[in-house]
């Protein structure tokens, strides 16, 4: 018997309750004290197609999914066809018996076929077919031996708003599914689940990256969010909006993304912490305003949750294609900060830290996330989210008392570090102007050479101050000295960490440099790590290896190999390991020549 270490995959058409069943099961497992990592995969359609929800369970904290599936819950034939090969020997496939799947066809690969009358039970006991996913939830607990009380608990909280009758019907359906699966299949199924701690006081939070980001922003005093819906950025907006009434936040859905960032810039100028959220397409529309925020020195936070590009691309799929873009997007050269969280905890931290940095440097701060991170669910201890411990730093924002004493206020005053004392409009002593034109310290347009040069230097001076005071070097995971060093950013971090763990277990010294602060690039804090690296491998969800390019541009160091994936799907640890050996067989002498895309000698580049 293998206890509390398995992967359950639930799949079916959109509209069949794959997502609600999956998130219900995730919570039910979390409330049993288990660690869960859940991956969601869905198509850009509301009904039909094929979606799945993949839940990895462990007693140890986990940061990635893995390829092996132990229990497949299939609502459609297509789901079985697509995923049966992922099921390990001894694993099982639970499916609705009305699908008419021949169990013998599955037995060949050593997989147990477990037909259950899911929709029949749902109709006969619950009164509606739609409860088939509730029945499957019960059956999952039944076959794995998981405590039904945990399922009951989740059904009760999920349906509380719908009233007692709905709760009772769902409970009856779940119990019938539980009993059927338990009696018929549990005995022969060796992967088991068991609660390890059910104390409500110790319950972990279950949240995805966008919720982490929203939570961080709220905790960091974000008082204003304006956005236009765009997958996968929308749930940051929705999470903050849901809490807006309670915490005194203004939330505004605007007519387009241009307005979304401009509302936020207006709000930032008038004195609050403001943000907007979008994906690559919406960010494209925001670019002109990014230049505006930079030249008017207005704090604003932009969450760019990447998806597969180019153009509309893969709307519900993951990719990391926008790093180059967000770093350089603007008319003219303008200071900004780019942060890329890799875990949900880092999403939380970036959520509040971005607002501190935006106000300190009076410039745009971009949080660059991606779909995989935005929608992955994890169980996380509550103390990782230190809401009350966050230090708010509003930088050079002038208080009312300071303004009462001020004379001859200059909004864009030249200073040593490039940062000017910032007033908000409304005080008698600081009636001021600002403009998107190049300007004087008073904010009046100017075209003369000397003030232009000085103002440009003032703005760009902020980069030096950022690098000196705030921008962090990469996080080192694994061995101090290693045979192999991975570089990566954003959502690949979970899989890369597990790769490092697995290599080390096998006796290979390995480490991982994870970049959260990406721009301005912390070259000085990176160089020594990279120079020490014996074999440097970039792992990125894009075609060109944009971090590798950035490293080369800023440090002169070229990676030995790139493992790149742009299929719209995230990396699993197995996939990285499998491709690692391929890089070694094709890798030329390191750090010579250029990139094949742009001429020069070829390096090892594996497209997954």
């Amino acid at each position: 018997m293998i206890k509390n270490n398995m992967t359950i995959k639930i799949g079916g058409e959109a509209g069949m309750g794959v997502e609600s069943g999956g998130s219900g099961l995730t919570k039910a497992l979390s409330r049993g004290g288990l660690y869960v990592f859940a991956l969601q995969d869905y198509m850009s359609r509301i009904r039909g197609g094929h979606n799945f929800f993949q839940i990895r369970v462990s007693t140890q904290e986990i940061f990635t999914f893995v390829d092996d599936v132990h229990l497949l819950i299939a609502f459609t034939k297509e789901c079985i066809e697509r995923h049966k090969h992922e099921v390990v020997k001894g694993g099982a496939i639970v499916f609705d018996e009305s699908l008419g799947v021949d169990p013998a066809s599955l037995k060949e690969q050593g997989v147990k076929a477990c037909p259950i009358p899911l929709s029949k039970i749902a109709t006969e006991i619950g009164g509606h077919r739609v409860m088939a996913n509730t029945c499957a939830l019960g059956a999952t607990a039944g076959i794995t031996g998981y405590d039904f009380e945990r399922i009951k608990d989740i059904i009760e909280s999920n349906f509380r708003k719908k009233g007692d009758e709905v709760i009772q019907k769902n409970l009856a359906v779940a119990k019938a599914g539980y009993d059927y699966a338990h009696d018929k299949y549990a005995k022969d199924f060796e992967f088991k689940l068991e609660p390890v701690d059910t104390d409500p006081a110790k319950r972990r939070m279950v949240l995805h990256g966008n919720q982490g980001l929203a939570l961080g922003a709220i905790a960091g005093g974000c008082k204003f969010i304006s956005a236009y819906p765009m997958t996968p950025g929308t749930s940051v907006f929705e999470t903050i909006t849901a809490k807006a009434g309670k915490y005194g936040i203004v939330s505004k859905q605007t007519e387009d993304e241009l307005a979304a960032i401009l509302f936020a810039i207006g709000a930032g100028h008038a004195g609050v912490r403001a943000m907007t959220t979008t994906s690559g397409g919406g960010f494209s529309l925001m670019v002109e305003a990014l230049g505006l925020a930079s030249i008017t020195e207005t704090p604003v936070v932009i969450c760019e949750v990447q998806r597969g590009g180019p153009s509309t691309g893969l709307p519900t799929r993951t990719e990391q294609p926008d790093l180059d873009f967000v770093i350089s997007a603007s008319q003219g050269e303008t200071p900004r900060i780019v942060l890329a969280p890799g875990t949900i905890e880092e999403c939380f931290e970036c959520g509040w830290r971005a607002h501190n940095l935006a106000e300190k440097y009076q410039c745009p701060v971009i949080i660059l996330s991606d779909l995989y991170l935005s929608s992955q669910l994890r169980c996380i201890d509550r103390n990782r989210f230190d809401i009350t411990g966050i230090k708010i730093n509003r930088g050079q924002l002038l208080t009312k008392e300071q303004l009462d004493r001020i004379t001859d206020y200059k909004r864009h005053l030249f200073t040593e570090n490039g940062i000017s004392p910032r007033a908000i409009p409304g005080h008698k002593n600081a009636v001021f102007m600002t403009t998107s034109d190049e300007h004087t310290e008073y904010g009046y347009a100017v075209e003369d050479i000397e003030p232009r040069n000085k103002m440009m230097e003032k703005r760009m001076k902020k980069y030096e101050t950022m690098l000196h005071e705030d921008i962090r070097g990469p996080k080192l995971y694994g061995d101090e000295k290693a045979e192999i060093t991975f570089v990566g950013w954003g959502s690949t971090c979970g899989a890369i960490r597990e790769v490092v763990d697995r290599l080390r277990k096998k006796g290979t010294k390995a480490n991982f440099l994870q970049f959260v602060d990406l721009w301005p690039f912390p070259a000085d804090k990176t160089q020594s790590y990279l120079e020490k690296a014996k074999y440097l491998v970039a792992v990125e969800n894009n075609f060109t290896g944009q971090l590798a390019g950035l490293i080369r541009k800023c440090t002169g160091i070229k990676v030995d190999a790139k493992i790149l994936k742009y299929s719209g799907r995230p990396f699993s640890p197995e996939e990285i390991i499998a491709n690692l050996s391929a890089t070694k067989t094709t890798a030329p002498a390191r750090r010579k020549g250029g990139d094949p895309l742009f001429g020069g000698k070829k390096e090892a580049k594996i497209h997954v």
């Binding site: 905790a219 008082k223 401009l262």
Partner: protein, 290 residues
């Protein structure tokens, strides 16, 4: 009490001699004085264009933004500090062309803003190209055979789009303009003013003389009924023969956008505490994810 001198900026005005923007600047200052407003209480947000240089030439808080983008910035500012009296200044290309989407959606929200569309029916700062309000047949470097588009009509768009105050005035009649600006600013909600403002350098058709012959004060006509939207539509459609000036449509008692936002009930957002509420509720907030 403020006086006109309080609003005088240090900046030298760069408009062409005789520009229709001069009366707008003068009338705006007079109106602010008439209303007893002081410079720090006022925020002027503009787009880009000749007329959008106005914030440089008046001593109030000013934000000279991007071409077409004044309205969303102004709405963001107003939502954060509704004590500020926010005036939006755009041109016709700026406000109705490149910023057209913001115009359509801004007015249906009824934010408490006064929006002056400085309408000279031409692109002035880029040297005379056809604008959204240029007449059909208008000849310019970008329409050498004459424009083949119908002109946009700001007043008509305002009446149909949900503006709660729609007026037109003319740079040729400063007294009228001061009065209209004051009434627009006193109106609670979105107030649109279409300002007929000749470009003396590039528009040789729609001149002071041309406007003078065409405009009439609609408020002195026998059937004047600005609360009647159907009447307002009729007046908004007038252009070829005669051009009505004055308040064409006004509906009062519609709540402003800011009045309906719960977070603003405790006063301007800009002066509210940042994290007190969320810190006090931190454990419950986390519990909601468990």
């Amino acid at each position: 009490m403020s006086k006109v001198d309080d609003f005088i900026s240090t900046e030298a005005v760069t408009w062409c001699p005789g520009c229709g923007d001069f009366p707008i600047l003068k009338c705006l200052k007079e109106s602010l004085v008439n209303q007893g407003l002081e410079p720090h209480q006022v925020m002027v947000v503009s787009g880009i264009g000749c007329g959008s240089k106005l914030p440089y030439y008046i001593r109030t808080n000013g934000y000279n933004s991007l071409h077409g983008r004044a309205l969303p910035i102004a709405q963001g500012i107003k939502l954060v500090n509704h004590d500020l009296r926010v005036i939006v200044v755009t041109g016709d290309g700026d406000g109705l062309g490149i910023g057209g989407n913001h115009f359509l959606h801004g007015m249906r929200r009824n934010p408490d803003l006064t929006h002056l569309v400085e309408n000279n029916q031409v692109y002035g700062l880029t040297k005379g190209q056809t604008s959204p309000t240029s007449e059909k047949g208008y000849v310019s470097s970008t329409s050498p055979d004459g424009s083949i588009e119908f002109p946009a009509n700001a007043v008509l768009m305002g009446v149909s789009g949900g503006a709660t105050f729609v007026a037109r005035t003319s740079s040729g009649d400063p007294k009228h303009m001061t009065d209209i600006i004051t009434r627009a600013m006193k109106h609670k909600g979105y107030a649109l003013i279409d300002v007929l403002q000749p470009c003396v350098t590039f528009n040789k058709v729609n001149t002071y003389q041309w406007y003078k012959q065409k405009v009439y004060n609609v408020e002195t006509t026998a059937d004047y009924a600005p609360k009647d939207r159907v009447w307002a539509f009729k007046k908004a459609l007038e252009w070829e023969e005669k051009i009505p000036i004055g308040v064409i449509y006004q509906v009062e008692g519609i709540p402003t956008y800011e009045e309906q936002v719960p977070a603003l009930k405790e006063g301007p957002l800009a002066y509210q505490d940042l994290t007190g509420k969320v810190r006090a509720d931190a454990e419950k907030l986390k519990e909601s994810f468990c």
